[in-house]
Structure formats: structure tokens, C-alpha cells
């Protein structure tokens, strides 16, 4: 099962795996006819990729150099949007900073929780399957407006969190109303959905050969040592996969911030995640050129980060039997 998770990891970095099964047996004529049919099968995807992905990507790159506002034709203004963004827009830098904090706290927290609970559940006990499903449930619910609304209420002044903390003598007030805590409610909402990476970790843990633990135990390794020397290295491909997926995901978080701050990113812009600011610029201020430029900066940042993670992976990801 993990096999395909791993295949997923390598598939995303090395897509040419697709070419591996060659079929040389078909005679020429049939092969050519097969080609036509192949394009027929692919035609929805080809149309979609062209009209809804490649075309729009090129168009948004072009629009990022214009002052497009949706109502009048775009005028070429060169790099002005980018210059404004980097030198004259405090809210842009603020949004970038809020998003950085959000990603740096929520992703490790989510993955840490996922791994911890996966370790807890990774034993042959009655009801493990049921528990696994129950822990996964928040991952399905968490993206909804419903849960975001519940979150807003739970973390508001006199909400459950406020009252519980007050009862143990910690007086924070409502988190959603205070700039220093508001982002933490979004972090909590993200971490709450640790079930999906947990399920992937569990599948990975099942693949770790029992002999390795036995051998380590014979060598006198305690639980901590076994975790560091056996579990973590054996799990590293899965950690890489989860890390990349969750990071890309975190950069695009929107619904929670929108609902908790009524679409404004407040209080004091403390929940102004980058996608929310992009939305405001594009669809509230109708500065579509500017929003396009922001989208390309986002793409560049995500692409560079992903590349860096994959690069660093050579040093810390261990593939069993990779010397083959």
C-alpha cells in the first residue's frame, strides 16, 4: 500500500516513470490507429489543459504586467505591479509575513500530531480501524464553512476556549478578536485536520520490517533510540511526501481566514493570509492585474520551496534498497 504512496512521491518528482512499460508487439498499422484513439480518449484533458490551464497561465502572466480591472481593456504597465508590491505595499509584506508564520507553525504541528497519533495507533489492538477512521473525520469536515463558523464561536470572547482557559486562571479573552492570538485559531484549525497525513503515516509504518526493531532491541536500543534510528529513517520518504503536500496546501489556505475575519483578514490584518489578500485585491478592488502578479509570486515561492525541499531530501530521505 505504501508502495503507491512512495510511487506517488517519486512520480511527482520524476514523472517519466510513465514511459517505463513499452509495448513493442503491436504491428505498425494498429499502433498508428491506436494513436488516434489515444488522442480521442485524451481529448477532454487536452482541451482542459489548453483552455483552462496553459492559456490562462499565459494570460495571467501577461495581465500581471498590466493595469487590468475587468471593465476596461488592459494597459501594459511593465513591472509596475511587481515594483509596487515589493516596495510600496505594506499589506503585501504583511500578508506574506502572516502566511510565513502560518505555514511555519501549522505544517510542523500538523505533521507532528499526525506522526504521534499514528505511532499510538500502530499496534494490533481491537478497534484500531475504527479509531483510524474517527481521527480522519476532521480532515473531511475541516475545509467547510460550517466548521470554520464553529471555530469562530469556540474561540470568541466568552466562547468555550476563553472560558476553559479562564477557569484555570489564564485570561486571554477571545482569540479571534485579538491580533496576537487570531492567527493561532487558524493554526489550530489546520492542525485539527491532521488525520489525512496520519493515515498516510500509518500506511508507512506498516511497511517497516519488524526485524529491524528486533535487531535494534537486541543491540540494546531503547524506544527513543529505535524511533530515531529505525522509524524515522524508514519513514522519511513518507515524511517528505506529507511535508511537500501539506506545505503547498498551507500556502493556499483561505476559507478559515475568510470566515473567522468576515473576509477582512482582521483584527489588524493578523489573519490576512496571502490568498485572502489576493482575493481582496482581485475581487473586491478589481485590481486584476495586481492580483495576477501576486498569483505568480505565490507560484514562484511555492515552486522554489518545493524544489528546495526535494533537493534537501537527498540528504535526509532514505530509500530502502536504493543502492540496487
Amino acid at each position: 500500500m505504501t508502495q503507491s504512496v512512495l510511487a506517488g512521491t517519486s512520480g511527482t518528482s520524476r514523472p517519466e516513470v510513465a514511459d517505463s512499460p513499452p509495448l513493442a508487439t503491436a504491428p505498425r498499422g494498429r499502433k498508428r490507429r491506436g494513436q488516434g484513439v489515444a488522442y480521442l480518449f485524451l481529448s477532454p484533458w487536452i482541451i482542459g489543459a489548453t483552455l483552462l490551464t496553459i492559456g490562462p497561465m499565459a494570460a495571467s502572466l501577461y495581465l500581471s504586467f498590466t493595469d487590468y480591472d475587468l471593465f476596461s481593456p488592459p494597459n501594459w504597465i511593465g513591472v509596475e505591479n511587481y515594483v509596487t508590491m515589493f516596495t510600496g505595499d505594506e499589506r503585501f509584506w504583511h500578508a506574506a509575513w502572516v502566511t510565513t508564520k502560518y505555514v511555519l507553525i501549522s505544517v510542523p504541528l500538523k505533521l507532528g500530531l499526525a506522526l504521534a497519533v499514528a505511532m499510538l495507533l500502530n499496534r494490533p489492538r481491537m478497534g484500531v480501524g475504527l479509531y483510524r477512521s474517527a481521527f480522519y473525520a476532521p480532515s473531511l469536515l475541516g475545509a467547510s464553512v460550517s466548521v470554520a463558523l464553529a471555530w469562530r464561536a469556540l474561540f470568541s470572547t466568552d466562547g468555550t476556549v476563553d472560558k476553559v482557559l479562564a477557569s484555570v486562571g489564564v485570561d486571554t479573552g477571545g482569540w479571534v478578536d485579538q491580533p496576537q492570538y487570531a492567527l493561532l485559531t487558524l493554526v489550530a484549525l489546520a492542525a485539527w485536520q491532521f488525520g489525512a497525513p496520519m493515515v498516510i503515516f500509518l500506511a508507512g509504518l506498516k511497511q517497516v520490517p519488524k526485524e529491524l526493531y528486533e535487531a535494534a532491541a537486541i543491540d540494546g536500543a531503547g524506544p527513543a533510540r529505535r524511533f530515531l534510528s529505525v522509524t524515522l529513517p524508514m519513514l522519511s520518504p513518507v515524511i517528505l511526501f506529507n511535508l511537500v503536500l501539506e506545505t503547498i496546501h498551507a500556502f493556499q489556505a483561505f476559507t478559515g481566514a475568510f470566515v473567522v475575519s468576515s473576509g477582512r483578514g482582521g483584527p489588524s490584518d493578523s489573519t490576512l493570509l496571502y490568498p485572502l489578500y489576493l482575493y481582496q485585491r482581485g475581487f473586491t478592488d478589481f485590481r486584476m492585474g495586481y492580483a495576477s502578479a501576486m498569483a505568480w509570486v505565490l507560484l514562484a515561492v511555492v515552486a522554489i520551496l518545493t524544489a528546495l525541499v526535494f533537493r534537501s531530501a537527498r540528504r535526509w530521505v532514505f530509500y530502502a534498497g536504493e543502492d540496487r
Binding site: G34, Y136, V199, I200
Partner: protein
């Protein structure tokens, strides 16, 4: 401490109990917000925020009655229906278009397959913001803003590349001998797809259908952008109407509607939990 006195059989038993208690404890904290949401939806207005008590002292269905009467201009069923139409359309679109593309990528040989597959994989990672504005302009030019088309049509063009990848992975595990046998019996590529691949692909099709449904049902961003006429609003958008007037008196109905919006996901989850969780385990769906 006294365990050393007990027999080994007795030492094992309490450890199991401790484990179950620990897991259940964590689970309770984790699911508390959901339990709280459901229970609050049955509380009368006076109780909604005044008490920490989880269970309503005087349970009431008034919040639900109010929501059925009307949120904004329409009753909750109107929004429910809109959400359902979009989700159902998206499911059909994804299942059809992604299985067609996956068959081509997984089994057929054609010029440009490698680069195309590579590009398809990259689009899985692509933040949607980078195509958002031109797509909006396209649909605006076609007079489709404020209709369901911008939310359904792309699914028929296989834009959710993730599901293509999921099905390609699945198709690669199917034995090629079956294709060859069908070919010997006179099946062309279309016949092989219809009579061999499609029936065997069922588990992957079901996974695709369920996840497409849930993601579309929960989707907020694209619906927010493309739908601004209350008549076309979906459940998430109608819920958002509450946000600005979120005074405590509106909390009851708001949570009643939240629960109704989560209900289909809950039912899907109960019916297909094994499918969902295994789907994540085998393919790394982000969920």
C-alpha cells in the same frame, strides 16, 4: 507499582485499557468541536453562548424550523439543492473525463505521452490562483458568471488532474494479459476500455466520486467568486450570509444550518469510511 506482584497475564490487560482510554480521550478532545456544534444547534437562543454545558438543558428544534423557513430570501432546501446540483455535476464530470484520460496515460501509446504526463503531474501541484483571473474572464465572456457552469464544466475537461493520477496508478496494477486476451477476441482500444478496464476500475472510480463530491460540497473559494446572486447560492455561501450579522441571537439557526451542511459529508463518511481512509492510505489524497 504493584504490577510486579501480579501475574504476567494481568499486566497485559491494564496496558490495553490504558491505551484505549488514552486514544478515546484524545478522540474526545478532537471531536469536541463537532459534538459542540451539533448540540448547540439544538439549544434555545438563551442557552447558546451563556453556558459551557455541552448538552442543551431544554433541547429545541426551533433553530432548524427557522432555517427551513428561510435564510435570506430562501429556505435551506433551496441552497441544499444548489449544492447538490453542483456536486453531482462535478462527480459525473470527474469520473468520466479522468477515467478516459487515465486509460490513455496508463495503457495507450502515443506521441508526446511522456511530456504530457509530466505536465499533468505538475498541474496537480499548481496553485489555482495562477489561472483564476483569466478563467474568470473566460467564463464572464461566455456569460456564465452566476451560473453553475464555471463550477461543473472544468470537471468535464479533467482539470482535477489528481484523480487522473489516482486512476493511472490503479490501471497500472491491472494485469496486461486481460487487455491482450480482449484484443485477441477482437476488441479495439475502446472495447478494452469498456469491457476490461472500466469494470475493474470501479474502486478507483468510487474513490474519485466520493472525494469529488465532498470537496465540491465543501468548496467555498470558487463558489464565492462565481456565484453572487442569492438565488444561485450554495450552502457555504448561504452560511456566509450569517457571518456579518453573527450576533449571538443568530447563532442557533446558523449552527443548525452548519449541521445540515455537514450532514451529507457525515453520511458519506459513515457509509464509505473504509473506502475513504484506504483511498488516502494508498494514494496520499490530501483530504
Amino acid at each position: 507499582m504493584s504490577t510486579s506482584l501480579a501475574s504476567t497475564g494481568k499486566v497485559v490487560w491494564p496496558r490495553k485499557v490504558v491505551w484505549h482510554v488514552l486514544v478515546l480521550g484524545v478522540l474526545l478532545v478532537l471531536l469536541y468541536p463537532v459534538i459542540w456544534l451539533v448540540s448547540t444547534s439544538f439549544k434555545p437562543a438563551t442557552e447558546v453562548i451563556s453556558t459551557l454545558a455541552l448538552l442543551p438543558r431544554e433541547p429545541t428544534g426551533n433553530n432548524y424550523a427557522e432555517v427551513f423557513d428561510g435564510v435570506g430570501e430562501f429556505g435551506v432546501l433551496h441552497y441544499f439543492w444548489n449544492s447538490l446540483m453542483i456536486s453531482a455535476g462535478a462527480v459525473v464530470g470527474n469520473v468520466v473525463s479522468c477515467s478516459l484520460a487515465a486509460y490513455a496515460f496508463g495503457r495507450l501509446h502515443f506521441r508526446g505521452r511522456g511530456p504530457m504526463f509530466g505536465f499533468m503531474m505538475i498541474t496537480i501541484m499548481l496553485p489555482q490562483h495562477v489561472v483564476l483571473i483569466p478563467q474568470y474572464v473566460i467564463f464572464q465572456q461566455m456569460d456564465m458568471v452566476n451560473t453553475f457552469w464555471p463550477l461543473i464544466l472544468p470537471k468535464f475537461l479533467a482539470t482535477d488532474a489528481f484523480f487522473i493520477f489516482l486512476m493511472v496508478q490503479f490501471i497500472r496494477t491491472l494485469p496486461r494479459e486481460l487487455d491482450e486476451a480482449a484484443t485477441l477476441d477482437g476488441c479495439g482500444p475502446v472495447g478494452v476500455f469498456r469491457h476490461v478496464i472500466l469494470p475493474l476500475l470501479r474502486p478507483a472510480l468510487i474513490t474519485t466520486a466520493i472525494f469529488t463530491f465532498i470537496w465540491t460540497w465543501n468548496d467555498f473559494f470558487s463558489q464565492l467568486i462565481y456565484l453572487n446572486d442569492p438565488e444561485k447560492f450554495t450552502l457555504p455561501l448561504a452560511l456566509q450570509l450569517f457571518i456579518d450579522q453573527a450576533t449571538q441571537s443568530a447563532f442557533g439557526p446558523m449552527f443548525a444550518m452548519s449541521v445540515l451542511a455537514l450532514l451529507p459529508i457525515g453520511l458519506f463518511f459513515l457509509a464509505f469510511q473504509r473506502f475513504l481512509v484506504d483511498g488516502v492510505a494508498t494514494s496520499g489524497i490530501k483530504g
